[in-house]
């Protein structure tokens, strides 16, 4: 009895993943076709369905951003590109599209400042995302401390030719991990996704507007209060906006 139940369960589980994979593949293909036929809304629906299945993928966000751009929703396009960049920081297509949109919005990504030469170095080619940095740091850390432990147990000193490279790598990935943690959990960045959003003095619809934010502006969310968010703009001004007018990254 037990054996037969297990056998049935095994068969069921064996067949399940391929069916699921076939459906998502079809959904992705259909979404791409819709995009090519300029039916951007339908393409977005297809990609949203993939996201609802738990697929978190930088390239998927990239495609979503492209569709939003075609629909003229610049804020959403920029938001999804920044999400994609967090997952694929080394992807040159994502960076190029962000650069393109920022140019269209009239922002000058290459402002001249003291660190201009430093910033020109393509550090992004060494970037890894949060999950990659977590795995890499965990593995390297295990190797490093394992080596120390082994040496201690053996009673000798750990060989320098292994220790120092490991120390450097762990430092590198550890810094990336700290940056990604800050980016993911503490920075609370958001993008204005509607046109002409008023920056309110108090969280109320009747409040006078201090400033008008334009679509695509980057904000830092400080506080939540009901349907309003206390945000800080790039120029340092603080104010309240309605939650549905901004999108978190």
């Amino acid at each position: 009895m037990k054996k037969s139940i297990l056998f049935i369960l095994f068969c069921f589980l064996s067949f399940l993943p391929p069916v699921w994979a076939e459906t998502t593949g079809e959904m992705a293909l259909q979404a791409q076709k819709n995009y090519e036929n300029k039916d951007y809304r339908q393409a977005l629906l297809g990609w949203d369905s993939l996201r609802s299945l738990g697929i978190i993928n930088g390239h998927l966000y990239y495609n979503v951003a492209n569709a939003y751009w075609r629909l003229g929703e610049v804020g959403q396009a920029l938001r999804y590109l920044l999400k994609a960049k967090r997952l694929d920081p080394r992807d040159s297509d994502i960076r190029a599209n962000i650069f393109f949109i920022e140019e269209q919005l009239g922002e000058a990504p290459n402002k001249e400042d003291v660190l201009v030469t430093f910033k020109k170095i393509p550090w992004y080619k060494l970037s890894i995302n949060f999950f990659q940095s977590l795995k890499a740091t965990a593995i390297l850390s295990a190797l490093l401390f394992g080596l120390f432990l082994f040496s201690k147990i053996k009673g000798g000193k750990a060989p320098r030719k292994w220790i120092w490279p490991l120390v450097l790598l762990v430092t590198f990935t550890g810094i990336q991990l700290i940056l990604r943690i800050n980016e993911t959990y503490f920075s609370n960045q958001a993008v204005v996704i509607k046109r002409a959003v008023p920056l309110l003095s108090v969280p109320s619809a009747q409040s006078p507007a201090r400033e008008e934010l334009k679509e695509g502006d980057l904000l830092n969310v400080r506080k939540k209060q009901g349907n309003y968010r206390l945000v800080k703009t790039g120029s340092g001004k603080e104010g309240w906006v309605q939650a549905e007018q901004i999108g978190s990254i």
Binding site: N57, H59, L60, N63, R95, N129, K135, S141
Partner: protein, 620 residues
């Protein structure tokens, strides 16, 4: 044959666009009055527009009137590719009797189609006893306020103002009239100034001097219009000029005097000689006499415009506005033209639109406006076209806002607002391939090169790239965190454990060291008698045991020489070391040599050992 065919073909090719764009034909008929007496005449004006220059009107019901004067005129205009042919027929009609008559409808056959005007009703009254003199009032102009100039009283002594009475020797009359269609107007409002030269006699070498219109902007409407009128039974040839005036400021403004210098023919007869009553006289002769005829300045009361709304740019008259967008769906980088046309009567050349600003979706490049003026007896009218080139700069859907134009309507005496319609434009994201030309500044290449200027977003990622999830499941992330944090924690734990162990060992050693002397003393107290080898072994054991405990070494197998070295290394005084070594050697010799004769007493031996250990204890 071939070359002539070629010529015809080329001619047709050149003319064809103009033919295609010829104006739609129409016929207009008007009279200068609808009530007159049997002694007066009526001016009938027929204007045929469009069609060939050979079109002639077909006038019915001519039995009630006599044609006492007529003139014709032709005009061909080609404006912005549109050709318009205008033919005018002017008739001076004298009624045959009193009654109510209908003139028309007058028909014209143009290019196979019959165009017809509306009939005009005319009332002819019985002539009065008093002769009536009415100056030739200009034909009624649609939309304008009636003239406020009071009609002059009848009689030869009453002439149009400013005109000197004719010489009694002249058979006819020659005089000038200068009139305006309104004596009160607003600043910028169109005023029609009509200047007429009436001549009942022949004129030669006529030189016209029109007013300078210092305080007006003037536009000549008709250069010269000729017709004939009957005034009190006398026929006059009339030369008429009409000018549109637009005042530039408020106040009582004067047009200025007008004059004509001409030689007028004059017939005179000589007196009979010798005062002979039977002399019938010499034949009369004709001579040209130079004369100057003057019409005085006309004063117009010009009023300031009422307070204007924001955006009013000085347009006065009656206008309409229309707009047209050439394309409402375009790609990035494409151009669409917004054409706005302002048309109407008034100072149309003053029409201006507020600037159309560039938006995030469009870059706006305004063109030069084109002006199409129409001059007629009714005044100055026309169209002014504004064109804006809009270059699509960003994809999406946007609305081109409506543009407002304010003008002052002098008839309604209020400001009116005209607005263009809002236009919605959809810009798609595909930009045609363009080659960008940089300013020629060399940019650094290699890894420091800035990204190349993009014309559009990059292509989509293929489906295969988007089907896997980069994120970790919560339990996976937890495992990795455990591994990440567990490694240093494990290492630290091991280190702590090791230290603890060492500390414990060190503590045990310290304890052993501190209790070495006490243990040695206890061991000494428990030793057996010296006799027999057992006693010596015990004493040796006590000494070596003490050294082992005190200095934490295995001292059981130490030789006296090793003990000596050890004690010396611990900086024990030489005397004590020598005594220790001597004692150990003695004990070994007594134990193994069997020389028992020189054995010291047990207590002495114990005391010596105790003292020795105490001194080592002190020195260590």
């Amino acid at each position: 044959m071939q070359s002539s065919l070629k010529t015809i073909f080329i001619a047709l090719f050149v003319i064809w666009p103009f033919v295609l764009q010829a104006e739609t034909p129409s016929i207009e008929v008007r009279v200068d009055r609808d009530t007159l007496t049997t002694r007066e005449t009526l001016n009938l004006s027929i204007v045929i527009k469009g069609g060939s220059a050979l079109s002639t009107p077909d006038i019915p019901n001519r039995g009630n009137f006599d044609v006492v004067g007529q003139s014709t005129g032709n005009a061909i205009e080609i404006i912005n590719g549109q050709m318009s042919v205008t033919k005018s027929f002017d008739y001076v009609l004298k009624p045959r009797g009193k009654g109510n008559f209908t003139i028309g409808p007058i028909k014209a056959h143009i290019e196979g189609t019959t165009y017809s005007s509306s009939p005009i009703k005319v009332t002819v009254l019985e002539d009065d006893q008093k002769p009536t003199y009415q100056p030739a009032i200009p034909p009624p102009i649609q939309g304008q306020r009636p003239t406020t100039q009071p009609p002059p009283p009848p009689g030869w002594s009453d002439h149009p103002s400013g005109v000197s009475p004719p010489s009694s020797q002249d058979r006819g009359l020659t005089f000038l009239t200068a009139q305006v269609d309104k004596n009160e107007a607003y600043v910028g409002e169109q005023i029609l100034f009509t200047f007429r030269l009436y001549s009942g006699v022949s004129l030669a070498n006529a030189q016209l001097s029109l007013p300078d219109f210092k305080e007006f902007i003037s536009e000549e409407l008709i250069k010269e219009r000729k017709y004939q009128v009957d005034l009190e039974g006398k026929r006059y040839a009339v030369n008429e000029w009409r000018i549109a005036l637009f005042s530039t400021k408020a106040g009582k403004l004067a047009t200025g005097p007008s004059s004509v210098k001409a030689s007028v023919s004059s017939i005179f007869s000589r007196r009979p000689p010798f005062n002979d009553p039977f002399y019938r006289g010499f034949p009369r002769t004709q001579r040209m006499v130079p004369k100057t005829f003057t019409a005085p300045s006309v004063t117009i009361e010009v009023k300031n415009l009422p307070p204007a709304p924001q955006g009013f740019l000085g347009l006065v008259g009656n206008f309409k506005i229309s707009s047209h967008l050439t394309q409402d769906v375009l790609n990035l980088g494409d151009t669409t033209n917004l054409e706005v046309e302002v048309s109407g009567t008034g100072n149309i050349n003053e029409a201006n639109l507020p600037p159309l600003a560039s938006t995030p979706f469009f870059k706006v490049y305004p063109g030069n406006p084109s002006l199409d003026l129409r001059k007629s007896l009714q005044g100055l009218s026309g169209k002014k076209k504004f064109t804006y080139a809009l270059v699509a700069d960003r994809p999406g859907e946007t609305t081109i806002p409506s543009m407002n134009l304010y003008y002052f309507n002098p008839q309604l005496e209020k400001y009116e607002k005209l607005s263009t319609t809002q236009e919605t434009v959809r810009i798609q994201g595909r930009r045609r391939q363009e080659k960008l030309v940089t300013a020629g500044i060399d940019e650094p290449g290699g890894m420091f090169a800035p990204p190349p200027r993009a014309l559009d977003l990059r292509e989509l990622k293929p489906p295969s790239d988007i089907l896997f999830s980069q994120a970790l499941a919560p339990w996976e992330a937890l495992l990795w965190w455990i591994l990440l944090l567990g490694s240093p924690v494990t290492y630290l734990g091991f280190g702590i454990w090791e230290k603890g162990k060492k500390r414990a060992l060190a503590q045990a050693d310290d304890k052993k060291r501190s209790k070495a002397f006490k243990r040695a003393k206890v061991a000494l107290g428990q030793t057996l008698k010296v006799d027999g080898g057992g006693g010596f072994s015990q004493f040796t054991g006590v000494l070596k045991g003490y050294i082992s405990d005190r200095f934490l070494i295995k001292g059981a197998a130490l030789t006296p020489l090793e003990v000596e070295r050890l004690l010396q290394s611990k900086r024990i005084p030489e005397e004590v070391v020598r005594r220790m070594v001597y004692l150990l050697e003695q004990l070994d010799s007594w134990k193994y040599g069997g020389m028992k004769n020189n054995l010291p007493p047990e207590t002495e031996l114990k005391t010596e050992i105790t003292n020795l250990l105490r001194e080592i204890e002190k020195a260590a």
